[in-house]
C-alpha cells in the first residue's frame, strides 16, 4: 500500500495498502503513484530534486532476492539512488545484515547487469525487524528517463538467507554530488519498542539528529511492526509509505525527505500509533548537493639564488589577488565553472617566471583545478665598481705560467689610453689538447679603448680595461684585461692577470715580473 500522509491515522486506514503491496514482483510494473508534490517544489530551487521513486513490500517471489524497478519511468542518468531494504524476523536464525550485495540491472530477459556501486550507509535492526540503506551516486548505464519496459533500471539485493517477507524503497535524486565520498553526509539510526497508543499515546521513532549542509538532502525512513498509523516528521515531505498488514501483518515503512536551504541540523521524528506492542526502526542520512562551483589551486615553485622572502601575488581574472609563498600553494574557492585567467606578479627584478604567465585554467564544478608557476631567481648583478681616480693607471710586465707553455706580457693602461703586449709561447707548436697553445704561438699588440678602464671586481687594487689589436699569427682581435691586480712587490705569486682575446683566455698569478697600480692603492 502506498500512502502519502501527513496526518495521524489509525490502523484502520492501512487496510487499503493491500492493493499495491501485492504487485511486488521482481522489477514489476507496480509503480504506485506519481511523484509527491513536494518533490516538484524542491525542484524549483534548482538543487536536489526527487526524480523517481518506487517500492515493494511483502512476499518476495525469490526468497533470496529483493528487487524493484523504476517502472514506469527511469531516473535520469547521473542521479543518486537511495535504496532502503526491509525484512522481518531473523531468517534462518541469521542476525545482522543478511544482504550479500546490492546491484542494479536492466529489466531485459534475462536481466542485464548495469554496474553502479551501491554503498551501505545504515543498517539497523532490533532482532525482529531490520532495515539497510544503500546509496549509489552518479548512476549510469541505463536509458535516461526511459519508459521501455524491457529497459527499466531495477535495484536488487541478493540475500545470504531466504526471507519470507521483505521490501525496498527506491528513490532517485537529481542534483546530488556525483562522488560518493562528497555526496554522503552524516547519517544515523535508532530502534525502539512501540507501545499501544491507546495506553500511552503515539510512540516516537527518532533516528537522532544529524547535521546537514546547505542545499543537502535529508532522507529519513522508519519501519515499524505491526503496521500503524503515523504522523511523519514535521516539515518533511513524504516519499512513500507502504504496509503489508494482511499478508503477514508484519509491518509498515515510511520514507520522508527534506532539502535544507541553509544547512543546520535535522532530526526527523515519526509519531507511530501502534495498535499493539511493537517495534520501530528509523534511519536518517544526508546527501550533499552537487557542487555548482569549483576551486582553483595555484602552486609556485621557485629555484635559484636570492629568492625573495615576501612571496608573490596571484591575481585571478584581473580582480582578485592573493599572496602566495615563493614555493607554496593558495586556493581560490567557489569559482564559477569555466575559464579563469591566473597571473603571477610581484616578482623582484632578479626573478623570472619560466612557465607561461598568465595562464587560462578551466574550472569544473565540484573539482579543484590546478596550475603551477615555476620561477627562477638569480643573484642580482653586483653594483658597478666605483670609477677609479683620474690619475689612476697601471703598468706592468712579466710572465704568466711555467713549463713549456707560458705567456709574457707588458701593459700600460689608464682611463685615457694605453698599450698592451702579449706573447703566448708554444715552443712545441700548436697543441689541440692545450687551452693555451691550441692555435700555436702568437704575439699580440693592442691599444686600450679610452673609457674602458675601470676598477675590476677583484678588489680595489684590480683594474679592468678593453681594447683592440692585431696579431701577425691570428689577426685582429678585441681584447679584455678582466683583471690586472697589484698584490704587492715583487709581483711574483701575488699579482694577478686575467686576459681574453676573443676565444683565447689566460689567467693566473705571475710567475715573474710585476703589475703596478699607480696613483691609488689601498
Amino acid at each position: 500500500m502506498w500512502k502519502r500522509r501527513t496526518l495521524a491515522r489509525v490502523p484502520v486506514l492501512v487496510g487499503a495498502a493491500l492493493f499495491s503491496v501485492h504487485c511486488s514482483d521482481a522489477a514489476g510494473p507496480d509503480r504506485p503513484v506519481s511523484r509527491p508534490l513536494a518533490a516538484t517544489t524542491a525542484a524549483g530551487g534548482g538543487g536536489i530534486q526527487l526524480d523517481q521513486w518506487n517500492g515493494t513490500f511483502g512476499h518476495q517471489p525469490n526468497p533470496q532476492l529483493i528487487i524493484k524497478g523504476f517502472n514506469n519511468t527511469n531516473p535520469h542518468v547521473g542521479d543518486a539512488i537511495i535504496a532502503t531494504f526491509f525484512w522481518f524476523g531473523t531468517p534462518g536464525g541469521a542476525t545482522g545484515n543478511i544482504i550479500e550485495s546490492v546491484t542494479d540491472v536492466l529489466t531485459t530477459n534475462p536481466y542485464t547487469p548495469v554496474g553502479n556501486k551501491y554503498n551501505l550507509v545504515e543498517f539497523v535492526s532490533n532482532g525482529s525487524i531490520s532495515m539497510a540503506t544503500y546509496v549509489a551516486t552518479d548512476v549510469q548505464g541505463f536509458p535516461d528517463a526511459g519508459t521501455d519496459g524491457s529497459q527499466i533500471l531495477a535495484v536488487k539485493a541478493d540475500l545470504k538467507v531466504p526471507v519470507a517477507d521483505g521490501g525496498v524503497l527506491l528513490s532517485a535524486w537529481i542534483g546530488v554530488a556525483g562522488v560518493s565520498t562528497q555526496a554522503l553526509g552524516q547519517h544515523h539510526s535508532a530502534s525502539g519498542l512501540g507501545t499501544p497508543y491507546l495506553l500511552t499515546g503515539p510512540t516516537t521513532a527518532d533516528p537522532g539528529a544529524i547535521a546537514v549542509n546547505a542545499g543537502a538532502l535529508a532522507y529519513g525512513v522508519s519501519l515499524v511492526a505491526p503496521p500503524a498509523g503515523f504522523n511523519g516528521p514535521a516539515g518533511w515531505t513524504s516519499i512513500a509509505a507502504q504496509s503489508d498488514p494482511f499478508m503477514k501483518g508484519d509491518g509498515e515503512f515510511d520514507g520522508q525527505f527534506t532539502v535544507s536551504s541553509s544547512g543546520g541540523s535535522v532530526d526527523p521524528q515519526w509519531s507511530w500509533f501502534f495498535p499493539a506492542p511493537g517495534s520501530w526502526l528509523a534511519s536518517v542520512l544526508a546527501l550533499n548537493a552537487a557542487p555548482t562551483t569549483g576551486d582553483l589551486t595555484v602552486t609556485t615553485s621557485t629555484s635559484g639564488e636570492n629568492v625573495p622572502t615576501n612571496g608573490y601575488t596571484v591575481t585571478l581574472d584581473g580582480n582578485t589577488s592573493q599572496t602566495i609563498p615563493t614555493s607554496g600553494q593558495i586556493t581560490f574557492t567557489q569559482l564559477q565553472p569555466g575559464n579563469h585567467q591566473v597571473e603571477l606578479s610581484g616578482l623582484p627584478a632578479n626573478c623570472q617566471v619560466t612557465s607561461a604567465n598568465p595562464v587560462t585554467v578551466t574550472v569544473v564544478a565540484g573539482e579543484t583545478a590546478t596550475t603551477t608557476f615555476t620561477v627562477r631567481c638569480s643573484a642580482p648583478p653586483p653594483p658597478p665598481p666605483p670609477a677609479p681616480p683620474p690619475n689612476d693607471f697601471v703598468t706592468g710586465g712579466g710572465k704568466l705560467g711555467g713549463g713549456r707553455e707560458f705567456a709574457t706580457f707588458g701593459l700600460e693602461a689608464s682611463p685615457a689610453d694605453g698599450k698592451f703586449e702579449w706573447v703566448q709561447h708554444c715552443p712545441d707548436g700548436p697543441n689541440p689538447a692545450s687551452a693555451l697553445c691550441a692555435s700555436g704561438q702568437f704575439k699580440f699588440h693592442g691599444t686600450v679603448t679610452p673609457g674602458s678602464y675601470a676598477q675590476a671586481s677583484g678588489g680595489p687594487n684590480c683594474r679592468t680595461w678593453a681594447g683592440t689589436g692585431t696579431s701577425k699569427q691570428t689577426g685582429a682581435h678585441n681584447f679584455t684585461v678582466r683583471q690586472a691586480c697589484d698584490g704587492g712587490e715583487p709581483g711574483r705569486g701575488v699579482d694577478y692577470v686575467e686576459v681574453t682575446m676573443d676565444d683565447y683566455q689566460n689567467s693566473g698569478f705571475l710567475s715573474g715580473g710585476n703589475v703596478q697600480l699607480h696613483g691609488r692603492k689601498s
Partner: protein, 224 residues
C-alpha cells in the same frame, strides 16, 4: 767585460753598439739622494759582436725616462755562421710613482742556433724586475728560462740554470748561462741585468776576446 745593454731603443739596428753598452753591473749606482727617483729598463732579444759581423742587435727596447712601456719584436734574425733565431721580442715597463718605483723587462727569442748548432735552444727568456719603495729595494730574475738547451751535444734541463753557470767551448771560448749582474744598496736602489746565454768568443791562439753573442738580455733599475 762588455755588455750588450745600451740605450738604443730601435730594433734590429746593428753597428756601434759596443760603445753604447754601458756596464750596468759595473756601474756604481750613486746613493739615492744624489740620484733621486729613477727608473730604467732595457731589453735586447739578441746581440752579436764579432770581427766579421760587426755589432748587430735584434729587438731592443729601452724604457723612457718618464716610464711607461716600450717593446720591440723581430720575426727572424740571422748572422751568417754565427747566430739565428725567430720570434725575438723585448718589452720593458715601469713607472715612478711617489712612494714606489718598479720596472720589469723581458727579452726572449725562439729557435736559437748559435755557431752552426754548437748551442741550440727552443726558447730563451730573460726577465728582470726591480722595485724600490724607499725602505726596500730589490731585484729578481724569476721567470727567466731556457727550454731545450743543448750545448755541444749536451742537453740541459728546462728552466733557469744556476746564475752564472759557465760552460767551456773548446776552440771557441766559453758560454755563461743565466749571467746575472746586480747592484744597488738594497734600500733605495736596486738593479739587475740578466743574460740568459752569453757566449764569449776567444782567439784560440792569443786568448784575446774575439767577440760575443748574447741571447736574452734584460736589465731593470729602480731608484727611490
Amino acid at each position: 767585460m762588455s755588455t750588450l745593454l745600451s740605450n738604443h731603443r730601435s730594433a734590429n739596428r746593428p753597428g756601434g753598439l759596443i760603445a753604447l753598452l754601458v756596464l750596468i753591473g759595473a756601474l756604481a749606482i750613486p746613493r739615492a739622494p744624489a740620484w733621486a727617483q729613477r727608473v730604467a729598463g732595457q731589453a735586447t732579444a739578441a746581440a752579436v759582436t764579432t770581427t766579421a759581423a760587426g755589432s748587430q742587435m735584434f729587438a731592443g727596447a729601452t724604457l723612457p725616462q718618464a716610464g711607461g712601456m716600450e717593446q720591440s719584436d723581430v720575426d727572424n734574425a740571422n748572422v751568417n755562421d754565427t747566430f739565428g733565431a725567430a720570434g725575438l721580442t723585448s718589452i720593458t715597463t715601469g713607472q715612478i710613482d711617489g712612494g714606489l718605483v718598479s720596472v720589469t723587462t723581458s727579452a726572449e727569442a725562439a729557435d736559437v742556433n748559435i755557431l752552426n748548432g754548437l748551442i741550440v735552444a727552443k726558447a730563451v727568456m730573460a726577465l728582470a724586475t726591480s722595485y724600490a719603495n724607499g725602505t726596500t729595494a730589490q731585484s729578481e730574475s724569476a721567470g727567466s728560462t731556457l727550454l731545450s738547451l743543448v750545448i755541444a751535444g749536451v742537453s740541459y734541463a728546462d728552466g733557469s740554470p744556476a746564475p752564472n753557470t759557465r760552460v767551456e767551448l773548446p776552440g771557441v771560448g766559453y758560454v755563461v748561462l743565466n749571467e746575472q749582474i746586480s747592484g744597488g744598496d738594497g734600500v733605495h736602489s736596486s738593479n739587475l741585468t740578466v743574460k740568459m746565454i752569453h757566449v764569449y768568443l776567444v782567439d784560440p791562439l792569443t786568448g784575446a776576446s774575439a767577440g760575443e753573442i748574447v741571447i736574452g738580455a734584460a736589465m731593470s733599475t729602480a731608484i727611490l
